[in-house]
Amino acid sequence: MLKVLIPTIMLFPTIWLSSPKWLWTETTAHSLLIALVSLTWLKWTSETGWAVSNMYLATDPLSTPLLVLTCWLLPLMILASQNHINPEPISRQRLYITLLASLQTFLIMAFGATEMIMFYIMFEATLIPTLIIITRWGNQTERLNAGTYFLFYTLAGSLPLLVALLLLQQSTGTLSMLILQYSQPCTLQSWGHKIWWAGCLIAFLVKMPLYGVHLWLPKAHVEPPVAGSMVLAAVLLKLGGCGMIRMMVMLDPLSKELAYPFIILALWGIIMTGSICLRQADLKSLIAYSSVSHMALVAGGILVQTPWGFTGAIILMIAHGLVSSALFCLANTAYERTHSRTMILARGLQMIFPLTAVWWFVANLSNLALPPLPNLMGELMIITTMFNWSPWTITLTGTGTLITAGYSLYLFLMSQRGPAPSHIMGLSPFHTREHLLMVMHLVPVLLLITKPELMWGWCH
């Protein structure tokens, strides 16, 4: 763990001491090295559930894929931001990369945490760099609104979590997950216990986001620059998922009844947000709502608390992280060229950028969960486990899959096919950097078809 964490912290001196000419090269190379080193975590050598490096930071089959995703994403974020940050003064560029690196540090410590309080603190700490990225570097006046929504939704959700965790500490004496997994399931019947249950989960449900509390997500995904959108969609949402899976361990047996309304809300959210996607005019907004739709499926999978549910949730989280980030990068390339996020104005791009049309095609097919991609595997496992929980859910999840296919194809056809309007004829061609970015997003998704054991969690 420290072999990744210390280099990430050393990224700060790299950023501030590089010469301006080499800043982007050096930070990209440094973060890529960290990413490659983090791949060693994928080799699971421990016989226990945890590959413990010390008492406070450890990896387990849940956090390993998420950690690798986080480390993989930092060089991609730096690659994606290079173009639009370039005109700014050098200290502001350094500040931007510092924010991304600090986000990385907090995320590594969050995913690797063994104490719930450390997880909570890192969970909260990731809000600050993200808020700064959204409100300082966003493109429109609406970014202030977006930052407010983002901050206050997440804070309002996580304050009960703090109280719940302190109560748990009071009753069990420890908050270390290594110990809590062996604690006796307590008989919890009173209303106070039910509110405690809700308090533990609300923060993560808001972060996922669950359908009823998802309003911050379209705003917070649309307004920030590409790196902000990437990290939000790919990793920060998964913090919610990871937190939920961790908390579920200690929340039995109340979850059997209390999870009911949240599962229903999640299932309904798949359909509702999918339908909203069909009516979106803004490219990034469509991808943001599609994130809500996929994460609602993940939330449902976690809340039914079966092995297949957890497995499906982790697979879908990793696959969605990579694909959603890829879609945001593609949307950003269109935005940097046409200066508009509307889908009406940037159409028929296949004629102008044929290779990029390939990336759009693969990304959209992954988004609609085409077999044999891991997106489908995750979705299938979740749908199956929910069918086991209650056969009626198949109507909702099935319709949801249909609508997902609908809007993904709509996105592809609107942006790539059809006649290209005459005002986008003179667009500058794609850089190698952008193609590299897309390859580094999509090739892992394709490679994961061959070895899904890396993402299966501890349930198999």
Binding site: Q140, L144, A281, S340, T342, I344, L345, A346
Partner: protein, 496 residues
């Protein structure tokens, strides 16, 4: 609260009292430090005042945004808030598939519209052109205006009343040009205009107040022709467009920020192709400007379109190349005189246009008429201001007018005004389309006096170009800008 404020006031007064003591210790090195503290205190004081005002009920906000600034980003920026600009904005919003798909911004230099061609126009609409496209445009616009409340009606607001007088246009042709009138007549009928030809005797029967001396043939529009109030149309379009979500900004476009690429022709010439990234909009009476990030810009600036095009380098290149051909739109001043004649022709007076070039129409119900004439090419009035030349009326307009309408031998000029045509010096017809050197600017200008009557249909055509990529209802490829570059004019065969 009040006590707290008093306390702070006394503290600041105390500090102000101490300031002279501090100044005795001042030396050159402490000067900057003292200024810093003074500035700081001034800022604290103003912040306190603002915070005190920010009790519920006040509209103080921590961000000092100028409310007149345009948004930082828009998808389509329409330069020019005249009737063509607002028509394009309205149709863009009407054609978008999903609500709020397009963010449209209309930038208008003058909120009072004091020099805008739209509001200074006579407001006539006719289908009696020789080009099929012009006829179709006017027909479609007339249809739009007859059903204006279906198009531009806003719920809970007053219905739109354009005061459309369907009195028709009456063109008079002399012997020399009667054959042109006949050819135009068949084109107009073929395109669907309801026009009829009249012989001098029929003319005298229909309009006994007319002197048919020298008239060989006349052509009268029976439907969809007449005049209306341009200010009402402008406001109706604006109200509806704003209700559909179009942003309006009063400011002047002072420049563009483009990204430029070099392109090579087959002959080996190099020229720069621009793509507009930002439009710089400057606030009125201020140096403050906002760069608006945009995807598409529409040049509907009327008489000032040439200046906007010059900001992008159109016309500023070497003389023999494409970039050396400027946009041939310039302002031309035209005078309009309001005359009062108690014995003049009655309610059925059409918009009369004589072969000498003079025109006259009824205005209102009190015996007032609007009249004027296009000056010769060589005698164009000065365009630096909108002053009226009354000598022009006395010497040029009145003789022809009195000859044609004997009742006008005794009349009184009650008032007059002048307005600009966005005159297309190349062929006096509209320019719609794109320039090869600017990839994302659309032009909709140069209508040379027909802009108002064609504006609803032109708006729809430009919206089709932007959203659908091609013309869907009326094919206006004849009006494309490339005819200017290829030097192929399409001229109206008018009789005047």
């Amino acid at each position: 609260m009040a006590a707290w404020r008093k306390l702070f006031a006394s503290v600041s007064a105390f500090r102000a009292m101490n300031a002279p003591c501090r100044s005795f210790k001042s030396s050159c090195s402490r000067g900057a430090e003292k200024d810093f503290f003074k500035d700081l205190e001034a800022q604290f004081r103003s912040f306190r005042e603002k915070a005190a005002a920010a009790m519920p009920g006040s509209d103080w906000s921590p961000f000092e945004l100028n409310p007149g600034l345009p948004p930082e980003r828009a998808d389509v920026v329409i330069v020019g808030g005249g009737v063509v600009g607002w028509s394009i904005a309205y149709w863009l919003k009407r054609k978008e598939t999903v609500r709020d798909a397009l963010r449209v911004l209309v930038v208008e230099k003058d909120p009072t519209y004091s020099q805008a061609s739209t509001v200074l126009s006579c407001g006539g609409i006719r289908q009696q052109f020789s080009l099929k496209e012009n006829i179709l445009l006017s027909l479609a616009s007339a249809d739009f205006m007859k059903n204006i409340n279906d198009h531009l009606g806003v719920i809970n607001e007053d219905p739109v009343d354009l005061q459309f007088n369907h009195s028709g246009y009456l063109f008079l042709a002399s012997e020399k040009v009667a054959h042109i009138m006949e050819e135009n007549y068949s084109t107009q009928r073929y395109a669907g205009a309801k026009v009829t030809l009249l012989s001098p005797t029929q003319l005298k029967e229909r309009f006994p107040w007319l002197n048919t001396d020298g008239v060989a043939l006349a052509s009268l529009g029976l439907e969809n022709e007449g005049w209306f109030d341009p200010w009402s149309l402008l406001n109706a379009l604006r109200r509806k467009a704003v209700s559909m979500g179009v942003y309006q900004c009063f400011g002047e476009v002072t420049g563009f920020r483009c990204s430029t690429k070099m392109a090579e022709t087959l002959d080996g010439d190099f020229f720069n192709v621009n793509r507009i990234k930002y439009v710089n909009v400057r606030m009125p009476n201020s140096l403050e400007y906002q760069p608006v990030e945009c995807a598409v810009v529409v040049n509907a600036a009327g008489a000032n379109s040439g200046k906007i095009a010059a900001m992008l380098g159109i016309g500023l290149g070497p003389k023999q190349s494409i970039s050396g051909i400027p946009l041939p739109v310039e302002p031309r001043k035209r005078f309009v005189y309001v005359v009062h004649c108690p014995d003049g022709p009655g309610l059925d007076t059409p918009f009369l246009i004589d072969y000498s070039g003079v025109y006259c129409r009824r205005e209102g119900l009190g015996g007032n008429y609007i009249t004027g004439m296009s000056p010769e090419e060589t005698e164009e009035p000065d365009i630096s201001n909108l002053d009226v030349d009354h000598e022009f009326f006395q010497e040029k307009v009145w003789p022809h007018l009195a000859h044609r309408l004997p009742a006008f031998e005794s009349l009184k000029v009650s008032s007059a005004w002048a307005g600009f045509y966005d005159y297309n010096t190349f062929d006096q017809n509209g320019i719609i389309g794109q320039h090869p050197l600017v990839t994302n600017m659309y032009f909709a200008t140069g209508f040379s006096g027909h802009g108002l009557q064609q504006s609803p249909a032109v708006g729809r055509a430009v919206a089709e170009l932007i959203i659908d990529g091609c013309y869907k209802t009326i094919d206006l490829s004849a009006f494309d800008l490339k005819r200017i570059l290829l030097q192929e004019p399409i001229l109206e065969r008018n009789i005047v």
